[in-house]
């Protein structure tokens, strides 16, 4: 309501600045138009409304808005037409409908509401949409044409056709044509079916469906044929959407697992607290946004280095305090780090809250890219997908092209040899673990944009992450990337016919069976590293 009210005010304000001459109330044509509406008998209302709509008056849109919302009234004593701005309580705030002049408050008993009936209200949307089609802004015109799909009635066909001649924007034209075609198909026009044949809009399909059931056999067959091509197109779009969601889920898995691929895959340390490091990254994002409440976008960007640092520091503490004492005892490491994960979870529950926290999605990340009527790609998932690929590329670069990467590979392949060549193995251990943990923190920052941030966030990802690493082949970053993306896609492909939970179970069972077949994953390590 308040949007409409402010819109009304805005329009009135514009009117006042653009047409100062209209101030003179005496010879204002609006006076006649509104007066006719106010005095109209029920049967005449339609004409009065059409008169307003076709008047070309800039204020027409705001009058119709007010009228449709029961806000257009007449002051009993003076007969002045006013817009009610606030109808709470006994005294209502009003302004003059013609000039927009603020008239203060008035008792509601002094007002006569100009009545609306449901018949008129149903047509109002179409009429308003028609008015919007004249708007300067292309987006308003497009939205208006969109709202007309399936709502076109006989009286506005002619004006709409006129409007179509004037329209220059191809997208708006397409919409108006489709809207007209839906009406014509409804009337039994066979030619119009061609216009709708390629459309993915749900109303176009509804119109064709109706036509397919019609008594006219020619129309029915043609509509059926058109529907078939639409179905084909829809299937294609559905597949594209599934692929997108699959890749998006896969990118989340890759992000969650890639840090593990370093600590577990490269170093051989089983870190069951990896999920909680992800959680720490997500909470860092939340904390950043608490510190910068007005700039969620900036906070999110700052969280990327901050989340990395927080998780990396936590990783170093875990490595120094526990893992270094358990070298060569992987099963014990598993248990100890699991204990750490319990402590971290409970710590968050006690210090922050057991409840989920909301992380705001900045404006530039929300919304979606509309490809066509059946397919739109949400932006935040797109960003996360991109982020995952960037993180992956950066890690590849570090492992392949930097001194640290070289040392890590040397230490994992032959620890003693590396040490005798002057590499400080302990330092490499710490750095590697910090790197893996930091990446977990990055995963947390990204995840905060997709899921709830709560103490259980990490728990939900730990088993999946291990599955991805093991499936891809331990010690192989490419394997992790491919495993993550393919598992995500498989999961999404299964979901439509199996349901979310069963899909997940099937994927788990598939991996369990796959590991039996190929214990070293998709891309097993070869050569010396495999024996180490």
């Amino acid at each position: 309501m308040s949007i409409i009210r402010s819109l009304t005010l805005l329009l009135i304000a514009i009117t006042m600045t653009v047409f100062p001459a209209v101030h003179a109330q005496d010879n204002d044509p609006g006076q006649t138009l509104l007066g006719n509406l106010a005095d109209a008998r029920p049967a005449q209302i339609e004409d009065a409304i059409n008169a307003i709509a076709t008047s070309g008056d800039v204020r027409a849109r705001s009058w119709l808005d007010a009228y449709g919302n029961n806000r257009l009234s007449q002051v009993k004593d003076t007969g002045r037409i006013v817009v009610v701005l606030n109808n709470r309580g006994l005294d209502w705030t009003i302004s003059d409908a013609l000039t927009g002049e603020d008239l203060g408050e008035i008792s509601r008993r002094e007002l006569d509401r100009i009545p609306v009936n449901n018949l008129i209200r149903g047509q109002l949307d179409g009429i308003k949409a028609m008015l919007d089609l004249d708007a300067e802004d292309r987006d308003i015109r497009l939205a208006s044409a969109e709202s007309m799909m399936g709502k076109v009635e006989a009286p506005i066909v002619a004006p709409l056709e006129e409007r179509l001649e004037l329209e220059e924007d191809p997208k708006v034209r397409e919409r108006i044509e489709a809207a007209l075609a839906i009406y014509r198909v409804g009337e039994g026009d066979i030619e119009a079916v061609d216009v709708l044949a390629g459309s993915l809009h749900s109303r176009a399909r509804a119109a064709l469906n109706n036509a397919a059931d019609s008594d006219d056999p020619e129309l029915a067959t043609k509509a059926k044929a058109a529907l078939e091509t639409i179905e084909q197109k829809l299937k294609l779009n559905k597949a594209a959407e599934t692929l997108y969601f699959g890749l998006s889920l896969g990118s989340v898995l890759v992000l969650a697992a890639i840090g593990l691929a370093i600590t577990f895959g490269v170093m051989g340390v089983i870190n069951m607290a990896h999920g909680e490091l992800i959680m720490l990254g997500a909470y860092t994002t939340w904390g950043m946004q608490q510190m910068l409440p007005d700039q969620p976008g900036l906070a999110l960007i700052l969280s990327i280095p901050a989340g990395f640092m927080v998780a990396a520091t936590a990783g170093i503490i875990i490595e120094r305090s526990v893992i270094q004492f358990l070298k060569g005892r992987p099963l014990e490491t598993l248990l100890a780090t699991f204990g750490i994960s319990l402590i971290l979870q409970q710590l968050v529950r006690t210090v922050i809250s057991p409840q989920n926290r909301t992380v705001v999605t900045p404006e530039w990340m929300s919304g979606s890219i509309v490809v066509n009527d059946a397919l739109s790609l949400t932006l935040n998932r797109m960003y996360v997908l991109g982020f995952a690929l960037v993180v992956f590329a950066a890690l590849m670069l570090i492992m392949r092209r930097t001194r640290l990467g070289l040392e890590v590979r040397a230490v994992t392949q032959n620890r003693n040899m590396a040490r005798s060549m002057g590499i400080r193995a302990t330092r490499v251990d710490i750095m590697t673990f910090a790197l893996g943990s930091g990446v977990a923190g990055l995963a947390g920052v990204a995840l905060s944009q997709l899921t709830n941030v709560g103490p259980n966030l990490g728990q939900n990802y730990i088993i999946d992450s291990f599955m991805v690493v093991v499936f891809g082949g331990v010690g192989n970053l490419w394997g992790t990337l491919i495993a993550g993306l393919s598992l995500g896609t498989i999961n999404q492909l299964l979901e439509p016919w199996a349901g979310a939970v069963l899909a997940k179970i099937i994927v788990l069972v598939f991996i369990i069976l796959f590991i039996q077949k190929r214990p070293r994953g998709l891309f097993p390590q070869k050569g010396r590293a495999a024996e180490g």
Partner: protein
Amino acid sequence: MWLTRPLRERSTQIFLGVLFAAMVVVTVLHVAMPQDSALHVSAYTVTLLGKYLCYALLAVAVDLVWGYLGILSLGHGAFFALGGYAMGMYLMRQIGDRGTYGDPVLPDFMVFLNWDELPWYWLGFDMAWFAFIMVLLAPGLLALVFGFLAFRSRVTGVYLSIITQALTFALMLAFFRNEMGFGGNNGLTDFRDILGFNLRTDATRLGLFIATGIALAIGYVICRGIVASKLGRVSIACRDAEARTRFLGYRVERVQLFVFVVSAMLAGVAGALYVPQVGIINPSEFSPLFSIEIVVWVALGGRATLYGAVIGAILVNYAKTVFTGVMPDAWLFALGGLFVLVTVFLPKGIAGLLASRRKRKDDGSDGSDSSDPEPTPAREATA
């Protein structure tokens, strides 16, 4: 005879002696002492102790595979829960028409979900003998299939741990589904009687406690028997040097499979005795957290000792009861801390502490070179 041999062992005799003495004391204090006496053991306590004994049996089962076979199973909760569900299904069928909806055949939750008839896998559970066989068969079969696949392709170590965890996780998700026909996330509950005895009477509760104690004793003796037999020796060899054992000509995967299946069946029995005592079974028993908790009981008590597993299970669960009563928030801190402290500072557990003290008293050595089969990290050339 491999089963009677352990009865001649000193440690087994001590264990059985302590266990039976404790059971007699609890029984006498429960039955003979008047209600208001300070020494009276309430029915609640008896059931609580019965629950601990179930956990102890479960811990013994885990110790058998982890301590003597070197397989860290993070999915034993699944076998426990399967045994529990088999028992729960029997108890559900025993309710008969006394349920809320009064349906003579269908359990309440099925009526609620508009099922028309019992699914096939519920058939036969109205007969006690069938249900009790299923208590052994269901976990045993799962372990057989899973173990056959895993051991045949030589999945060991951490990989095996992770896929056992995935197994129990997958089962948890499956049992949470209402369509599975196991009561969804509410599980099976509202039990009335077992073998004709009312579950809500003190006498039945005491009976269940004693039955659990006996099951623990038998389970312990079976495990001890396996461990002391030739098969047990091979199993220990598999734990310490799997490849070498294989090259010596032993069928490693068969040994692993046998021990794994026995362990799963024991876990199933523990679950079956657990369910009538706590009165409910739901999918949370499948949660990976529970399975990994079992492992920490064993680690605390001392791996590869069997009696250590019993001590650990009882101690940790007693601590859990106390903690969750007094300050529930602190329990996860304590449990997490326990994981870290035990693995870093107490690798041989409480049993290890006891053993080294005894040795020092005996001959003044530091007790580090033990002839007893204690686990050493397998360091072997896999090349």
